[in-house]
Amino acid sequence: MASLTLPQRIRKEFPILQREVHGKPLVYLDNAASAQKPLAVIEGQREYLSNYHANIHRGAHHLAQLATEAYEGARTKIADHIGAASTDEIIFTGGSTDAINLVAQAWGRANLQEGDVVLVTQMEHHANIVPWQMVCSEKGSRLEAVNVHEDGTLDMADFAAQLERHRPKLVGVVHASNTLGTINPVADLCAQARAAGAVTLVDGSQALPHLGIDVQEIGCDFYVATGHKAYGPTGIGFLYGRREMLEAMPPWRGGGEMIKRVSFEGTTYNELPHKFEAGTPHISGGIALGIALDWMNGIGTAEISAHETALVQHAHSALNTLSGLRIVGTAPQKVGVVSLVVEGLHPYDLGTLLDGQGFAVRTGHHCTEPLMDHLGLESGTLRMSFAAYTTREEIDRAVIALDRAISMLR
């Protein structure tokens, strides 16, 4: 077994990878948008729905007990996976976007004031921009952004300068960029931000599927991620928050579960983590996210990272053989994301002609419009993004297909 490559070992666990598209075998290179699911996740969710579904927490009956244990077990897996100090620090959310909104609304509305600054970077996903714009405009605060270099690395000098200049209340930074692949030095950034008195939020949406994560080493106050990009189901993600932060924050959504006692005279809220979890949660999603993490840990995030790093290097050199092609984002540390543009051609055309040959890639701004504007890429990029099951051969074939698409369009 040891001589088999990672994809050789695991591809058979992904039913979708067996399918065809337009009569050609599917080559799925849109993993940064959403990863495919291993059988363990698909069957785990089915097993839950077939065998022990019930509403959780308040039920005294056996199924409710089983479902609660599985759901809370998943919370423990997440806490362990990212090195949280306690399961109380893990809040289930609908995804990263929902998690950042939670912080922007619950923390932001309580803490931001007129003239305050929230500092993010120019490579943030819309999910780490728009929620801050919304709360800033409500509070009269300002959103500022750290410069990104042409090669896709963060401008560390500008970061330090803006910290100094704005003394931001909160610094939000993406762990790994979904458009450029860049892995940011989040521990260093958080240390600097903390030293400048800022609260820190790290958007780990692209890090969870690719990197080992330790929130205590990173030293952030908040860390968010989303399940569907990490081999897990849709509709689930989490917010990690340092206990003191979460304790001090008012709740965001109200309803069942998040209360201790409700009366028309006044309501008291539940303890962590439930204070932030109103209503019936996405039980099957939580459980299946736990299974996805188990699955990743069964391989080991180190092996996944190494595999993807090798794929990125391979893709860079293979793509560089095509004339007129430019890779957007060449930071030394990258997750499995390769963005590119071809001179004179619209990414949309290239993407469509790749689709016709069975290759699923993504084109456009990848929900990072400000970054695209900054880099002068009005039509966005074509992005290939990799997962544990991606092979070198798939990349080689994608390069040939891309070459064909380019010839057709020229």
Partner: protein, 144 residues
Amino acid sequence: MSADLIASRQAEVIDEFSLFEDWMDKYEHLIELGKDVPAIDDARKTDDHLIKGCQSRVWLAADETEEGTVRFTADSDAIITKGLVGLMVRVLSGAQARAIAEADLHFLDAIGLHQHLSPTRSNGLASMVKQMRLYAAALAARQA
């Protein structure tokens, strides 16, 4: 009758595309068609003529001819999108406004480009068709 005109042009397109079994050949043809799109005046390539909901940009203008029919001119920054525009223009341009507004455009389905009509498709063919009909409807209303 303009409706007949649209119908016969659709039949023609369906015939033409039936030659291509392969997806890629079909798109190759589409790319060719894009080259014949009657170009919109550069001066009119403004936001007013930009179609929303496209990943690529499409500018479209509609004018009434002396014979009272509609003439479309267009452009796009993406070649395949331009091919799709070209196809629409070829079927609809020169027909009566009312006929365009009410046309039953089954040919997209028949030639296997139906998927592009999905409102979520980033080339926004659906928005394009909608815009063409809106222009035509506006002209028809003025003519009535």
